[in-house]
Symmetry: C2
Subunit: 335 residues, 2 copies
Amino acid sequence: MVRRAGPSLRDVAECAGVSTATVSFVLNDTKPVSAETRARVEQAISELNYRRSPLARALRTGRHHAVGLLLPDLANPFFPALAQAVTEAAWRWGHALILASAGDDAKAEGEAMMALSERVDGIIWIPGSSKTTVRPTVPMVVLDRPSSQLAAFDSISADHHAGGAAAAALLRKLGRRKIGLLTGPGDSASACSRRDGFLAELNVDNLLWQCEAPFTLDLPKRAAKLLADPALDAVFAASDVMAIGALRTLRELGRDVPGEVLLVGYDDIPWASLVEPQLTTIRQPVTALGECAVTTLASRIADPERPPAHHLLQVSLVERASTAIMGSTRDASHR
Amino acid sequence: MVRRAGPSLRDVAECAGVSTATVSFVLNDTKPVSAETRARVEQAISELNYRRSPLARALRTGRHHAVGLLLPDLANPFFPALAQAVTEAAWRWGHALILASAGDDAKAEGEAMMALSERVDGIIWIPGSSKTTVRPTVPMVVLDRPSSQLAAFDSISADHHAGGAAAAALLRKLGRRKIGLLTGPGDSASACSRRDGFLAELNVDNLLWQCEAPFTLDLPKRAAKLLADPALDAVFAASDVMAIGALRTLRELGRDVPGEVLLVGYDDIPWASLVEPQLTTIRQPVTALGECAVTTLASRIADPERPPAHHLLQVSLVERASTAIMGSTRDASHR
DNA sequence: TGCGTGCGGTTAAACGATTAATATCTGCGC
DNA sequence: GCGCAGATATTAATCGTTTAACCGCACGCA
């Protein structure tokens, strides 16, 4: 049988000449211990280079001091950024971050959720498959993609509606009259909000067409056909990845961006400032999202009975070259 | 005190009318159990919807059925891809993947390594800071960035030397005589191998200059100055991110790629096929790297005493537009 | 009858922590 | 002298598993 490498609490106690309970009290500062004893214990701890086993602790107390982050995949460049933000926030809270990425397979997602449930105090979920019905046995918050079916859980997301509206406002301000709208997948709550916000702000007469497409580079054939409409003078894509796909298609069609067609994306992924022309986009507050997800989860864990909270974080418009008309200001910042 | 949600082994045993030991034997198939008893136990398990606690199991056996992946950050787009590959390989091995990203701060990296050590059976480490001296208390393999100081550990990496050589061979084949070399940071073992492989294959007379730079988009001023050399007719950058940085700089200088200057990158990150012109690059076998890291770690865990193994995986040249001369073939694949 | 010997099962001791309950000691008021 | 309070420290149970050690029992065999 494999033994744990390091010394145990018992060893420390022995070395310091006290009981294990006392060592535990020192460790957790949970009962008064005389200064002298405390010093002996601390001495022993550093002498033996003792580290307490999170395992045994979790088994006994039921608290893991770890949170899980479950996301659809790491390929979409928006997620690594979010994962990083969540990781840092969790770390600040003194919790380890266990990350699982499950693809868009509902079964895998359910399994991953179950596996996580056994190892963490709470889960931050970025839903991938809307078909996942498994529910974890620990507190959970939904990040980035709230949906009405999940209204019972806390949710944290950017204000997709406002983001869509901001995009519409910009294109209106720039005098566009023949606008194409690339929405995301119809079963994605965030995509729908962006669309609705956009449409709410736009004079519908100015909408040339709208088209549903997945959050990937390769656009469906229908989208390509619509982009070829010669009347088109602007496009709003509900994600940067799609926007870049559209940019390519437009280029292949020989249409100049931003000369003939303006283009607005969503997310402000790092790529957005890499392409030529740099992409005007709606920036999501990634760091704040991560931070908010963690604090919300923390409060949920502290009080499992409190009614669900739904946080909406502000987005911001980042104007770059893809909507630059003439000598209009050009923001050359990368990310 | 918080209790575990689900039923315990004891509940199952009670429900099936057997001892906990018997249930455990059924669960692990570790001792013969009569068909009849086994059926009763399985019935009870599914009836109570029992799931065994990895915690208690790990505490007792010392095996966590989890591996840790420690990487410098998620911002470099090469890492999410690798993380995904490792995750999938680990999952196939029946192990959970705990991911920690620690920045390039040696102290954070050491702490993360210690924290991981307590929760996993083994660690896959992509070194960030070369200054990290902490060593985990569990088996570890080094991924992607082997170094001589770490020779005592198993290592898995792509054949950076061969990759550098392949880049040199291509540029030579294309008749380039005034080549610029952007190496990565001098303390990165992988960067050095790429450089050495490149120089070994190249006729040194054809090297116009070389310059050290970090693996980021923004190149140091010295690099920008060197790129301005009018004689320059090709650049090899030891990472795609740097290559894209160089592409920008060249564009700002008004130099045409690939018309005047050919450009070769390294890694084949998704961005590589997004920029204009699409980037010729050396593709790392990401999936194979992840798979190999996991299997190597598995074998190391099985036999901690075996001498360290060092795996070198083949890279492949991906020719795209950035080295296309005239009507030369253009690979337009976007992975 | 007595004796190994598999087979199928149980008992009980760990693993490394936390924590309620309890014990010990000192000092103090009456 | 007695009892009680306060401050510290200890004992022992417990979390949910695994597993070494045992225990009957039926069987075959001398």
